[in-house]
Symmetry: C2
Subunit: 499 residues, 2 copies
């Protein structure tokens, strides 16, 4: 959340003389690999969560694994924190520079090293853009499935660090499910190979542990992803409902019927109206909610499943069910969805995007509860989200220039996340914890889990130099924060009355 | 491998007075929860790898999480090693008692706690048998996918500890891909909840880390698995080849064509002949190898895919392609496969089952190389395995009563595993490392990986009391063993000439 920058609660590092740091790095890196001037470092001041800003001591731009090793070893020796950064599109402040840190940008390591169409893998450097992998695989009829909405810009290394999702993750899984192998570099400059071409690796599953670890354990220096055959056909259905609850019930019923859509997205009236004004996608603006349900695969199977989805939506009370007439209308339906975030500018000067997940079956209850919270707090909330995954993106509309505007948005966001936890869900779906939600981790987990996270962090990085103050709160922070200790799945549902 | 019991290389624990241990456990457990007499403990002497045997100090049989906590806290306090055991069907000595240990049997915790057909989950105690979950889910049209060949007997807790596979894992994934949540208990008696009903959990992926950790990190006290809709139809095709290499090529071609069989198994002449004599499944005994390719799903899709598989097999050189005439022939085809291990008794007094994996595309090369190794060592090798996964089960035929018989089988087994590593594969597919392959871990991994495993082990269990001497070798053991350090994926393939 947009709280104050309370670094005091995090591990403190004795300040290192900046001149000494720059000179040590200059000795091990070629010319042009460091950015030291303030104006040059401004672009690294924040990631996609621009409310948090800070300047690093220096920015390092390694071009290969050897240079990453040199930076890490120097930082380990001098006791300087290191924050790794991909494309900087993250939405939770994961790449926010810590005071006095070396900002390690992987942007120059952006080569596709190999596409193997037989093994169906792509071996790439961490700075390669997500979409560039699918583009390189397209001539072989293959694609890389996880597709965060930032896929044009975001890097695969960042995707690994955040265990990124996307519209297609309902069918194809998260980043962790689409990885074959990782090369990582520890703070001490040790290179490790995790995973591999074989079915299952012996020993502990370090590849899964590394995925989603938000830069706290090691730096990803190479990624081998799995590629999938591009589906021959895709079709999208739009179902409109007069009641948000019915739309939520339709989502649960589609999944319960054993249908696995390639995407299953939901927008409520506020969101779909703004999107329609913005994109003219042909959305029915008199609906309380719409679903977009995409199916891919063989043409016959799609036709059959579309009929089943239509029947389920109608049984749930849909007032309108339409299949896109052709490919251009299919693209238009999706363009509306993709334009929903920017469309919020039509409704309010600012919006705050929340990212929580809930068990899919709780969707109708949670949507109703968010509606009540919105009224209580006097702030409109538009809902646009990955309904099939139970991954919510409530957009809280506010005006940052109004007195107390940010604080009210924050307070409502906190309530929505508490609601997610109480419903057996989580405080983040695909955006990560980063800096933004580090205090909410104390709500998500009990002290035993937090201490275990901390012990694992210490196993990789005992000095705590890798991305300090992110993702995993120190036990001291949780004590200070007065953790709720409402544990996922153990929350007393009776408490829901207060939402 | 069947090496000597060289516990001296592993962490040593000061011996604890057995009387004191039993009395301490008696204080915290109800009557009947301990087995202390030698004859009663005999059944716990080994798991499915009967070549390794040892007696624990005492066997504890907790009935609930509270009793598991009591045992673990007592062991932590007294510094006594703990070996958890499910059904004892493991094939790598993972449940072999350490000298002086408490053998913690989870067999009494065998209740199915809940089946939720809407959420498609089953919440069960760790001692529940794998197949019992599918039986309980069957009335709802659901099943639990991972199906190790021991599924009649093996327990879900053991499946989690080993990240168990099975015939259907090619399509449906390993245990880790079919879990929703775990309750675990640390050595200190802290209960942790890992995973949950929501898409993705924040923090490090402890559920994946725990899965396949072979009892080294904590004890599983509750498992929530994902259930899948039972496929409406299934059909199996038998393809016979005059050349093992062609069968291997057909496997690679089927997968490369984007077909995902529910099972894709291979047997070579020695295996299929013995199986045929044992089961009369109708296998063509003049073939050099057969494939069994099962497809499941909608009837039309199966018919279409069977045609594609047949065409691929014929293009690869199949001399015969047959679809099972009816359900009873389908069952018969599989009965032959399932009876292949016991059928080995017709060929030799003893067999030693190797479990390695290789990248699927290396299958033809590896099968040829195993044939050469078999000739060089003068021991017949029958191959029966999960071809689609690249998970080999070479069965080395030998006579334990012959002088040096075991040693020759061991030596050949070691060479086959080295071959797997050199081909970019692993020393174990689904049987785990356990006691059997702990030295081979030093061949699979470099010192940086081994040290990281060790650091993670220490994060959960700094005293090293949980299942000592299994799965993760101490760095000292690797030094002593003279590790090969041929790293998966980095092996110089030129070395293959020596196989």
């Amino acid at each position: 959340m947009l709280d104050q920058f309370d670094i005091a609660l995090d591990p403190m590092f004795p300040p290192v003389d900046r001149g000494r740091l720059i000179s040590a790095l200059s000795e091990v890196l070629p010319a042009g690999a460091l950015v030291t001037k303030t104006e040059g470092m401004r672009v690294y001041e924040s990631d996609g969560l621009a409310a948090y800003r800070g300047l690093p001591a220096v920015v390092a731009l390694p071009r290969d694994t050897g240079e990453v090793r040199a930076v890490l070893r120097t930082c380990a020796r001098l006791g300087v924190p290191v924050v790794a950064r991909g494309a900087g599109t993250g939405l939770s402040g994961g790449a926010l520079p810590s005071p006095g840190c070396v900002l390690l940008s992987l942007s120059r390591m952006s080569r596709i090293l190999a596409i193997d169409p037989d093994a169906r893998t792509a071996r790439v450097q961490p700075g390669v853009r997500n979409l560039a992998i699918s583009e390189a695989a397209a001539p072989y009829g293959l694609f890389y499935a996880p597709d965060p909405s930032s896929q044009l810009a975001c890097s695969i290394g960042g995707n690994v660090a955040e265990n990124a999702g996307g519209v297609h993750c309902l069918k194809y899984g998260l980043t962790v499910h689409n990885l074959q192998a990782l090369e990582i570099m520890t703070l001490e400059g040790e290179g490790l190979t995790l995973g591999g071409e074989a079915l299952d690796a012996p020993g502990f599953d370090l590849m899964a542990l590394m995925t989603g670890s938000e830069g706290l354990l090691a730096v990803v220096t190479e990624v081998t992803v799995r590629l999938l055959p591009s589906p021959s056909h895709a079709q999208v259905m739009l179902a409109a409902f007069a009641d948000v609850r019915q739309a939520g019930e339709a989502v649960a019923a589609i999944i319960a019927a054993g249908i696995i859509p390639a995407g299953l997205e939901m927008m409520d009236r506020l969101a779909l109206t703004a999107a329609e004004e913005h994109t003219h996608a042909g959305y029915p603006t008199d609906a309380a909610a719409i679903l977009l349900c995409e199916l891919d695969g063989a043409e016959d199977d799609i036709a059959e499943e579309l009929e089943r989805v239509a029947a389920i939506c109608e049984a749930a009370g849909a007032v309108q069910v339409r299949v896109a007439r052709d490919e251009s209308e299919r693209q238009l339906f999706w363009a509306g969805r993709k334009g929903a975030f920017p469309a919020m500018g039509r409704l309010a000067p600012d919006y705050y995007c929340i990212d929580g997940t809930i068990p899919r079956r709780r969707l109708p209850d949670v949507l109703e509860a968010i509606g009540r919270l919105s009224e209580e707090h006097g702030l409109a909330v538009a809902n646009v989200f990955h309904a099939g995954d139970g991954n919510l993106h409530p957009l809280i509309l506010y005006d940052a220039n109004e007195d107390g505007g940010i604080e009210r948005a924050e307070a409502l966001g906190g309530k929505i996340l508490e609601l997610c936890v109480a419903m057996g869900g989580t405080i983040t779906g695909e955006h990560g914890v980063g800096r933004e939600k580090i205090n909410q981790m104390c709500a998500q987990f009990g002290s035993a889990e937090i201490e275990t996270f901390f012990a694992i962090k210490a196993a990789f990085d005992p000095a705590g130099l890798l991305n300090p103050g992110k993702a995993i709160p120190t036990p001291a922070r949780c004590v200070e924060h007065g953790a709720m200790h409402v544990h996922a799945g153990k929350a007393p549902f009776a408490h829901l009355d207060r939402f």
